[in-house]
Symmetry: C2
Subunit: 342 residues, 2 copies
């Protein structure tokens, strides 16, 4: 029933330790020995026991995914991406939702780390932006990889995966500008999130490059929620601006969906009278009518690479993974919620 390393060793006619070397892809195993062992592994359908590996070894085969993000779609994508790599590499994943506000977050963290010694953590935004967290982890000597909004910086390159929100926002703004829009509103997400400022800066940069003036009244401070999108559109399209604004960039799809709702409520035709764009290409963007033009963020791919980066950090020099992408730029997906200014 239960197959152990000893069973494999016996079948292959080698020592336990040699089997261990093979499954850990250690060097200095003769090719022939390797093959013999692998054959035995396959024949017995051997799966190394994670608990034993974690207990015996200096490195652990468990990583954690930490998130504090209300967006279920985002979280699931991140989970699935990390998970798929974990499966491939024989790692186990411990998920750790938490909220930054919790006073006992640090305690929770430490508990998790003590219970299962972790090889490392993947931190997702907005938590990944908190220096209090990274300081804590540095102190505890825990490896981590952060997924961040922003442009890559030299020194953090090997511990971060960047999502170039700036560039994507730039491009989506340019898309609208090229369609003749000049008075373009922007509904910001939570101020505390780095993605918010990155996207806003991208928007501003595009406006500047297009010699189009930005108007502070066209920028709405919101939260990354549907309701906030509704409110944002209502504010931006209030009587004073109603005729002026011909396009609105939503900070994310959820907000854009809210803005779209609010606009329709006001009897505004989309995209004829108003173009609306989202950000992220989450299911939200496909569940509106018309479907949202947005920036496609490959969260599952992003998180896969985050996991890969973490693995190379924990595995030391050998077994390095060379094809890790550390910088992603969401690509514009043009759908039906945006069009030329009429």
């Amino acid at each position: 029933m239960k197959v152990t390393i000893n069973d494999v060793a016996k079948l292959a006619g080698v020592s336990m330790k040699t089997v261990s070397r093979v499954i850990n892809k250690e060097p200095s195993v003769r090719k022939k020995t390797f093959d013999v062992v692998m054959e035995a592994v396959n024949e017995l359908n051997y799966q190394p026991n994670l608990a034993a590996r974690n207990l015996a070894g200096t490195s652990s085969f468990t990583i954690g995914l930490v998130y504090d993000n209300p967006n279920a779609y985002y979280v699931i994508d991140m989970q699935n991406g990390v998970l798929s790599r974990c499966k491939d590499e024989g790692y186990e994943l411990v998920i750790h939702p938490c909220s930054y506000s919790e006073a006992n977050m640090e305690h929770d963290f430490k508990t998790m780390i003590k219970r299962s010694r972790l090889a490392g953590l993947v931190l997702t935004p907005p938590l990944s932006e908190q220096s209090s967290i990274t300081n804590l982890l540095d102190e505890l000597n825990i490896h981590y990889v952060r997924v961040l909004s922003g442009r890559p910086s030299e020194e953090e390159q090997d511990t971060c995966i960047y999502v170039n929100d700036f560039k994507a926002a730039y491009e989506i703004t340019m898309h609208l500008l090229n369609h003749g829009h000049k008075n373009i509103g922007f509904i910001c997400g939570d101020k505390e999130h780095k993605s918010t400022s990155e996207r806003l800066e991208g928007y501003k940069a595009a406006m500047a490059d297009h010699d189009t003036e930005t108007n502070d009244a066209f920028i709405y401070d919101g939260k990354y929620s549907f309701e906030s999108g509704v409110e944002g559109a209502q504010a931006l399209l209030a009587d004073d601006n109603k005729l002026a604004i011909t396009a609105i960039l939503g900070g994310n799809d959820e907000m854009a969906a809210g803005a779209l709702f609010a606009s329709r409520l006001m009897g505004i035709q989309i995209p004829e009278q108003l173009s609306i764009t989202g950000f992220e290409n989450s299911p939200f963007s496909r569940q509106t009518w018309p479907k949202l033009t947005t920036a496609h963020q490959e969260n599952d791919v992003i998180s896969q690479h985050a996991a890969r980066l973490l693995f190379t950090k924990t595995r030391g020099a050998r077994n390095q993974d060379k094809d890790i992408i550390t910088s992603f730029t969401p690509s514009i997906v043009v759908r039906d919620s945006s069009g030329p200014k009429l």
Copy 2:
């Protein structure tokens, strides 16, 4: 840095084994000894190492959550509920998304189970309805608890958590009937899902009890997706029925949101001309305008109880948890998408 059971034992002046007894809440530990040990545990902030426990013990401190559900909100809720119990009880959670269609699902399953010996699994719908899965688990001698749509049956009571979709659908239908609606459409979810038939039966039962005739043309076979909701509404409100149907029950919120969209597209006023209701009280139901009347399903609570039930099954007779609820009935939340027939 790292606190082991030996450190606690030394500090408390007892043997390692006694500490083990205390943390496992075994009987036959003198109250005084218990207190002394607990004090040491707290002073050192000791957390038992999961890998060691899993390796040494006959029972494991890891459970799995298996799902095959495209609804991110649902999955996150289930995860969080199970996770919160795991934290309390010192268990670890391994999440296992999978798709039933995958040929290698059985293999994946076995691999997961071999890698980390599991105390048991929580199965969520629609996977929990597949007898091929439960047969496989029975064969492998794995404990499991299933979350199911349907009315509790005597024999399965102690391995299932039931969600009484029938009753909830009955009530939501009654709500509409009491508002004077007679021609009520129903948009079904995936036929393969038990929840679909349960909800449909509830609808039919209410209609019957209210002496209202059901019309097969008012029932649309769909899928649990937004798009399907759109199509369902379009079909139900096609020319022949357009004037006849005054209310539509969506199989879930996502479909109801789709139906609402489609209706607005056709220029139908909600709820004046048409009442629409959802099911589940997911964020979808709050991100439509008007907000959806729906049936609130406490997924996080449901999954907490599923975890508790699983724990009692694995822990043998002692440490039984007596307050487990095994049957839930979603409660109707009346919002703005439904109203009296005018």
